[in-house]
Symmetry: C2
């Protein structure tokens, strides 16, 4: 089995942007990378072959959902998540923390872990750092995440400090639970809210424990984009150069470009897949809503500059018809296009960093969108 | 443009089963054939490439639905249905008659046609033989159907006679509307209910007008299978040998085998696609319902004897999980398997007829299902 490795290949001369490569036993991951979300052991509307066609190198699956249904022990009996869902490239699983903390009234936090009620049947469970690791081991992902609290925004400084230190203790318990003979890479998650000193505290404590990679948690939780970028500004430089850096749950194409500019290597978000199912499509000139009547007679592809399967074969008018008719193929084609957009954007970014032209690329990217915003406002 | 042609290649020595070939400008159709239903310009859950992978040679689309949404003139402006939906093999459109007659209270029949209210927005329309042909011309299908009434079952003999004669007059108007320079093949539809003499009357009248193919309508409308087979028994021999014969809206795999035994060449039905979305899967040993708990730990494919993409790559346990989780991929994979089952069954039938072993094939087919029924009852 190839051990987990990260190689830094290029750094942008004018920004913190990095070009890297993560080596896993299931293949390499070229960074910066976006990971499509496959919550319930399927990226909604995509066949594994379709994901490969658009260049997906790694996908994410959710521990919380798979723990409840079909159950991690069942997935283990099926030979693990890769075999269960017919995906032989790398998988990252989250810790389940984000979902149980999102349950609101249905959960209670103790030092031991989080007691929560299933959103499916109301059954009670205790999710602890040890159980999170056990579930992620049963699922068999290539990269697993430490169990932490994703701190809501806004929160008092006192709460952020208290929660961040508890997340550190939980991260240590995760590492101990995984053991010395770990077959999986374990990432720690830096918390600390929007406070620079608490982000430093979290980062220092986690690095003392030592992880294969470092995530930045607690972003994209309702704060303004500028607050997120500021938090990235003071958090990313705290992280070691020789480990992959992952910003969880982010975000829009603009967020990705800005994250990469600040040194982020990995992203995941439901945005391209969920938007697709709602008829919102990403293009080189911004977002469009395919349900609008203006597209009903439009024979152009979604994005004339896009070379994806959908843009090569289908018109906006047809996609609008499928959406209006509630057809499965609407979700299938829209998802294919949106994920292609995100993955192709990452491929363009990687090339720009290699060529030392990322800053130019970033300026051009924002310019195109401002032109679009203006022309829409007119 | 290749004119529409039908060649009878083989006939079974022990039954009325036939092996034929329909030639169209968009390719050949080997009969007996099953046509997947693509009501709203998409076979629900299938990409065109997936349909080709499983050997779909022709699909069906519904005039009623496309007339209302997105509108036939719009489809024409997009270059016709083939281009609109990215399907370059033959398409057959129905006349819209079946759907408007199904509207019950929302429609009124006159000699001119049927006044009906849209199920989408309540708008009023008159669908006449002439409009049905105009719509089907705009859609640009390779085979179009005469506008007729699909007579409900049961019905009085008086009603059946009255309706059947009106359908003949409508069929004549369809042929006249299509004109001499027709680019599309037009099929007449034999009605006459469950009365042998009225089926003969309908068949004689239609053949006097002359059509490129003949359909048998008014079956699979709630009657027992034996009544359907009896109607096939006295109707199929009335049809000319040198034209394709199509039984509309039929049916189960058993119905197809029995129809072929009686000389049918073409079938369509929503059964494989609709059942798939409800988790009901066809196998060589009968139907299974993938939602049952008995499959949750089952690592076998749907049908160990099946070679389709789904059976090569996914377990019953995974498919059960997808279904229970309400995932799009459940519909996508189940539909792929069920349509493969239907199309593969037709491929096996064609080979059996070529080899002169269809009667054997039919006995074996029914034996396997009886064994399954018994073992399920135990």
């Amino acid at each position: 089995m190839t051990p987990f490795q990260f190689a830094l290949l290029n750094t942008d001369p004018q920004s913190a942007a990095r070009r890297g490569r993560i080596r896993t036993s299931r293949g390499d991951i070229e960074t910066p990378i976006f990971m499509p979300v496959g919550t319930q052991a399927t990226v909604k509307g995509m066949l594994p072959e379709g994901l490969k066609d658009i260049g997906a190198q790694i996908i994410l699956a959710n521990t919380y959902h798979l723990f409840l249904r079909p159950g991690h022990e069942r997935v283990r009996r099926f030979g693990g998540l890769h075999r269960f869902m017919n995906w032989d490239r790398p998988i990252l699983t989250d810790s389940g923390g984000f979902q149980v903390f999102s349950l609101g009234e249905l959960r209670r936090i103790t030092e031991e872990g989080v007691v929560f009620q299933s959103h499916l049947d109301g059954s009670r469970h205790l999710l602890s750092p040890e159980l999170s690791v056990a579930v992620q081991q049963a699922l068999g992902a290539d990269i697993i995440m430490a169990f932490d609290e994703c701190i809501p925004y806004p929160a008092t400084r006192e709460y952020v400090l208290h929660s961040t230190e508890r997340s550190t203790r939980w991260a240590l318990r995760c590492k101990q639970a995984l053991g010395e003979e770990a077959q999986q890479a374990l990432f720690g998650i830096v918390q600390g809210g929007m406070h620079a000193d608490l982000r430093r505290l979290s980062s220092d404590q986690l690095q003392e424990i030592g992880f294969d990679g470092y995530a930045v948690g607690g972003l994209s939780v309702g704060e303004e984009a500028e607050v997120m970028y500021e938090a990235m500004d003071f958090t990313l430089p705290l992280l070691p150069q020789d480990r992959p850096r992952y910003v969880m749950g982010v975000g829009t194409p603009e967020n990705l470009i800005e994250g990469i500019y600040r040194g982020v290597d990995m992203f995941d978000c439901v945005m391209p897949t969920r938007n697709a199912r709602n008829g919102v499509l990403f293009t080189s000139f911004g977002k469009i809503s395919i349900k609008q009547a203006r597209y009903q007679d439009d024979d152009q592809p979604i994005d004339p500059a896009c070379g994806c399967y959908v843009c090569r074969n289908y018109s906006r008018g047809y996609l609008r018809h499928l959406y209006q008719s509630g057809e499965i193929l609407a979700s299938v084609l829209n998802t294919h296009h949106n994920l292609h957009y995100y993955l192709d954007l990452m491929a363009q970014v990687r090339q720009a960093i290699e060529e030392g032209s990322f800053s130019q690329f970033r300026r051009q990217f924002h310019r195109q969108r401002q032109a679009q915003t203006k022309s829409t406002e007119e």
